[in-house]
Symmetry: C2
Subunit: 458 residues, 2 copies
């Protein structure tokens, strides 16, 4: 994988499987002879380590999660967190650019990296015996990157091209950016992960050096190892590789600007000739697992699941199946964030139906669930679906790593992950109704409309 | 004037007389025996000084402009610039709280202060012989404020109450805040000058001390003295008072985050039972005098004047007089800002007319001026009105001081002020049309609607 290849293979955002699942999973990877217990410990230099046993195959997923994302960027330096997702694949004082990638490929492994608002993650899935080699490479690039002007300039061109192709050439992505900048009045989630073009263009070696020295430190990282390994072996290897790195300066608590009280209904409309079918999404600011009162985030996860979490959901059944007016309709909740997060509903018309008809029908379902609540039966089924989604995740080593890594990277614990199914089970129908009534208020919402361009006028 | 009196008499924003005028004025205060020449010089410690002679009466307006406003605040510390507008009236190591105010009152003077996005200004208008005393007081509080926990906590309660009464109890002000936060996707003008409540509540002595030590320094201030004084006397007095203060650390250039390209049409709606008549405003991001290409800001000032600068404007004549559908309609341009600024149109219905009718008619006038341009006659009359507004300003000592002070506080020069009438005179009808066509594009605008609350809603 070469970020210079012009078609970057890295994904910008962490994979969030389903709305509720993103924050939780049952104990992982059980197999005969293994109790499946997840182990966590901290190295002397402050690096957290999580070991998730999974002995079904002789492979291992090795992930380093840095507790820094786009929402941690200094003002005017948007894009620098994601820039490091690229720069980390360049030369170090010990390895040429591309050597790490080549080493992974040579043993039949795969590797990648992604950046989100709250973290940046680098991972490899390789034969278990290559774990030590992966740790050597990752520990090396944590501190030994060569950040010279040429590397910075070259890779900056790559991220600028990435922005052009992924965002600026994509009306939906442009709308999403401006909807985020509207929904969030103060919190840094308003700024795109990839960065604003005019700020990305100015990123330089001095910025990169300062960011690297501040955040790419063992005491700001979480190591997640999932696979055919023993905790004691992982500990010894980690101590022998990452453990040799000096602890960096203590970082202040991640206290960022938060949202003021919102009082208005906002709309953001993008009309573009490239749009065929119109679509819309309405979003609200809601608590995340980290900011919510006990049980409230779990209620929001269930609300999203019941309202629009798939083909069994109310929105799908009512708008797509029964009324037949929508090509798509659903809801989502991004619970696993450091700060307050968003709850979204979305829809698009089908056939002769208009966007307005779909929005009216969707809004009616949102109003109904806040007014009348949910039934015991649909709540039970939604709980089963969410909890079951975790069981499926046990089949996916990287998915398990993502769940633990992303939770720890935003300040959560292994226990938070493991107790999540029980917390979901405890939610009552009244709590789901209360969450809908409290948060899904149209007078305090932001709606994005993606519309075909029908005429020239302004 | 006591900021503890519960009804603060300070104004939050600088007085901007008319849209074009805010950035310019002819040479000031001529009188027999005086050539009216404005003098400017810099003290050895970096403090800029402007002297505007005005010998018509034995009074003087003494202003200290600090080159720091709300747009310079650190992330999460919104409101701290305005907080200092209050704290500066508290005790220093040499004077008790209230002494300065009492001294001004005792000699029949008046004083006040205001905070804007780009600067904070403190001024006194007093008998000319009191100038030295004013300088002593101002120089004292520039460096000798007593910032203890009690003072900070007490005055913080005052600004919190100010926010409640001025913003939170005023639907129009709440809408304005959220419209600003929507129009501006990145630039700090998106954050209210008074601050977000949740951040104001957290402001503490440590924040205040850091802000004071960074920004309240002679090399970050502009002294403006307008009135019955001689430049040499002002220089001697300034040197003997402010000149004794040590230069502070060099501050970096005021380079703040700027706007990305905007691609969407946005709306912000506040429905409130306290609203009687609905109203709306549509705003666009446009260049300021500091960021525009030569002549473009002047063209925007004339565009605002022709489109909606008063009762002779197109909007007023068409919507209020001719169609009779609007109670108000107009346009404004805030040119004198450090970064890109906003251009606004606004209107409200009258009688049986609806808000929609007013908006449709107003939008048609905006489209027409971008399509068909302006006539030579209306351009000439608008130039005359703008330039004449400066001549009127020569009658107002504080107004003259505001013009020079605000211009220098955002990095302009005395020449910028004095050459403004000539720059206005140079603008062509084609340039006005081009400005309208380029910037007043509804697909890249933000509109705020203030609506009566007609039903309970959701």
């Amino acid at each position: 994988m070469s970020p210079l290849a012009g078609r970057p293979r890295r994904v910008l955002f962490a994979v969030l499987l389903v709305s509720g699942f993103a924050n939780g999973a049952a104990a992982a990877g059980s197999s005969p002879g293994d109790d499946g217990k997840v182990t966590d410990f901290t190295l002397a230099n402050g690096m957290e380590v999580v070991v998730i046993p999974d002995h079904r195959a002789p492979i291992v997923t090795h992930m380093v999660w840095y507790k820094v994302g786009s929402a941690d960027e200094p003002p005017g330096k948007s894009g620098i967190a994601h820039f490091f997702e690229h720069l980390m694949f360049k030369a170090t004082t010990n390895h040429k650019a591309g050597e790490f990638d080549a080493a992974v490929s040579a043993i039949g492994g795969n590797n990648n990296a992604f950046t989100s608002y709250d973290y940046t993650c680098f991972y490899e899935t390789v034969p278990a015996q290559a774990l030590r080699e992966m740790m050597d490479f990752e520990a090396d690039r944590m501190r030994n990157l060569v950040l010279d002007d040429k590397t910075v300039a070259t890779e900056r061109d790559v991220i600028l091209e990435e922005r052009r192709s992924r965002i600026d050439n994509n009306p939906n992505a442009v709308l999403d950016e401006e909807l985020d900048a509207t929904l969030w009045q103060n919190q840094p989630y308003r700024i795109p992960v990839i960065g604003w073009m005019q700020e990305m263009q100015q990123l330089n070696r001095t910025d990169a050096r300062a960011f690297y020295d501040r955040y790419y430190r063992p005491n700001n990282a979480v190591l997640v190892v999932a696979g055919d390994v023993e905790p004691d072996d992982v500990k010894a290897l980690a101590q022998d590789t990452f453990g040799k790195l000096a602890r960096g300066p203590d970082l202040p608590a991640r206290i960022r600007p938060v949202e003021p009280e919102q009082n208005t209904k906002r709309t953001v409309t993008l009309s573009d000739a490239r749009v065929g079918v119109p679509s819309f999404t309405t979003q609200w600011v809601v608590p995340s697992y980290r900011t919510a009162k006990p049980g409230e985030a779990e209620a929001l996860a269930l609300l999203a699941e019941i309202l629009g979490g798939g083909s069994r959901s109310r929105l799908y059944q009512e708008l797509v199946v029964k009324k037949g007016i929508a090509a798509s309709a659903g809801a989502s909740y991004q619970g696993n964030m450091l700060d307050a997060t968003n709850f979204a509903v979305y829809g698009a018309p089908r056939g002769a139906a208009t966007l307005g008809e779909v929005e009216t029908a969707l809004d009616a379902e949102v109003a109904r669930i806040g007014r009348d609540g949910v039934t015991a039966d649909e709540l039970e089924k939604a709980k089963n679906r969410l909890v079951r989604s975790m069981i499926f995740a046990r089949d996916q080593q990287q998915a398990m790593g993502n769940i633990y890594g992303s939770t720890l990277a935003v300040g959560g614990t292994v226990a938070d992950v493991e107790e999540w199914p029980a917390r979901i089970r405890k939610v009552t129908a009244d709590e789901v109704k209360a969450a809908a009534a409290r948060y899904l208020v149209f007078d305090r919402s932001a709606t994005g409309y993606l519309m075909p361009k029908t005429q020239a006028g302004n």
